[in-house]
Symmetry: C2
Subunit: 333 residues, 2 copies
């Protein structure tokens, strides 16, 4: 296992400390519960957005904490859901009296724990609601999931609902908007290589030197096909075909596009893939709105692979998508 770490059991704690030291004016860490919150939380009168999940998907979710996106992120152990206690502490830290809204990726552990956290928070007088994001079109009922998995489309929920919360939208309004984004976002991923969680010390799956997995989940859950590596254009065609053939009609629409690297994919290759994505979308009459989002947004440690996400936009979403935000993942300069 080749990792730049000190000890497998300290990775999350040390990562959080590094994030706080790097962006102290923006966020602070509650180390006892591995929660990152906005430095200025709670923001009075604003709905507070909370997300979270297993670690190992950075910059998801801590990198999206800040004005215009999340109020808090709960970091579980690598690839393992955070606990209801963590989520409750996050809720108490960021509630500004207008309630908290949980953005939950559809994994059974995450959903159960956020539901329980909501009950605990309500018992303490904090109003809560949540959305379960399930944008991955590749498979139904996966290893850790009933229904479809929640993947990179979640970032668009963070961005759009985060801006809406800053804009003063109330809890019911945030819920409606989050459901609307989720209803219009579709993703699919693939992997060329596996990855190794620090504490496990072994790859999450085996894959041959000439193989790839189409439809792979972000924790190595099996996809739709294990086959020989194909040219990037063929891979894009298959993934986009599945996304465009799903239940959202993207034809003629203005669409937010994300080409998300899984952590070990050179940016060069993401641009090679995007060249084909742009061509296919043009041929299909799908209009890319403003600019595509190309880079590592929701990773799986050092996995090589990528995902494609399309979100069909309406006018309200467009406004919130392009609103300013200030988060660690948004500060390259």
């Amino acid at each position: 296992m080749k990792k730049l770490i000190n000890a497998p059991e300290k990775v999350v704690e040390e990562m959080l400390r590094g994030m706080e030291q790097a962006h102290g004016g923006l966020l602070r860490v509650i180390p006892e519960v591995s929660v990152i919150v906005r430095a200025d939380a709670p923001v009075q009168g604003k709905v507070a957005l909370i997300s979270g999940g297993g670690s190992g998907h950075e910059p998801t979710h801590g990198g999206y904490v800040g004005p215009g996106m999340l109020d808090a992120a709960c970091a579980g152990p690598v690839f393992t859901s955070p606990t209801p206690d963590q989520m409750l502490e996050a809720s108490k830290a960021v509630d500004g009296g207008a309630g908290v809204f949980y953005v939950v990726k559809n994994y059974t552990g995450d959903v159960l724990n956020f539901e329980m956290a909501g009950e605990l928070a309500e018992a303490e007088g904090i109003q809560t609601d949540y959305v379960v994001v399930n944008d991955d079109v590749s498979v139904e009922d996966s290893t850790f999931t009933t229904g479809r998995r929640g993947v990179a489309g979640t970032i668009f929920v963070h961005k759009i609902c985060g801006a809406a919360a800053d804009d003063g939208k109330d809890l019911a309004g945030i819920k409606e908007l989050a459901e609307r984004v989720n209803a219009n976002v579709r993703s699919m991923g693939m992997a060329l290589t596996s990855c190794t969680p620090p504490e496990a010390g072994t790859p999450i799956f085996e894959i041959a030197d000439d193989e790839m997995e189409i439809g792979m989940g972000i924790h190595g859950e099996p996809g739709t096909a294990r086959k020989k590596i194909e040219p990037a254009d063929s891979i894009v065609d298959e993934m986009l075909g599945k996304i465009l053939g799903d239940s959202v009609d993207f034809s003629g629409a203005e669409v937010a596009v994300m080409i998300n690297g899984m952590g070990g994919t050179p940016l060069m290759e993401l641009y090679v893939a995007y060249a084909r994505v742009a061509e296919v979308l043009k041929n299909e009459g799908v209009n890319v709105y403003r600019m595509p989002y190309i880079g590592d947004y929701m990773t799986s440690l050092e996995m090589a692979g990528f995902s494609i996400t399309l979100l069909k936009l309406d006018e309200e979403m467009k406004g919130y998508l392009t609103a300013p935000c200030d988060v660690a993942a948004g500060r390259p300069f």
Copy 2:
């Protein structure tokens, strides 16, 4: 070789097409010579900044083209210098009458070719000057280099001199500023794994499963020591020790800090490393200015590893470092 590509010989061409399709309002590509230029080039009356080098280091350099940074980037084949012809065409495309300034990383091929391009451009009536960045403290006289190599510190030259050029500084002033940044910036890198250029199809070096290379160059040039993997804190201590022990006195200074991923390093690990960097710098009385730059700024394809860069700032540099810019690598949202 596991890569998301169509054909090894088409990687650079397709990457550039993808970049242009993604950021058409910001940049355009001159495909005949693999040059990326600002969409609004030439900007009349402004010194034009040009950089370039072998591909495979993305977002270096094309990702830094745009207002506030570079006017053009010349993309060579993977890990191979672009030619004087490419640089000349870039110069002609972006010269706005105030001259062009080349930011050159110290590799023998790059230096010779940019020098020749300067002569060709001068013969066509374009005023030119250049800086050779040599920030890597690890070794003198490496595989492709006489003297010290130019690595991630180059990004600070792009940022600071790019802002200065937009601010109206003339060619002599840009030259002086670039030399001043270079005189005050020091970097060191390390690698856990090798990487595979698409056309070669084989790793650029071999390394055992329990080994790392301290002082590794961005093309796999040997460093100062090949040894067993150590904890992140020990690695950081060794690298920072060498940087702080070099000829720039960082003590008491305000310093720009970059923790640069080599392409295959999880962001989680860069934050683990930064936790130690912050601790050491605090103990040494070195003040991190504003925020550290943590992420993949100058990569080596899918190599796992990272580099640390420190730049001792003065007031003028601070202003230009924090000035707005709009480049592909600066647009996560």
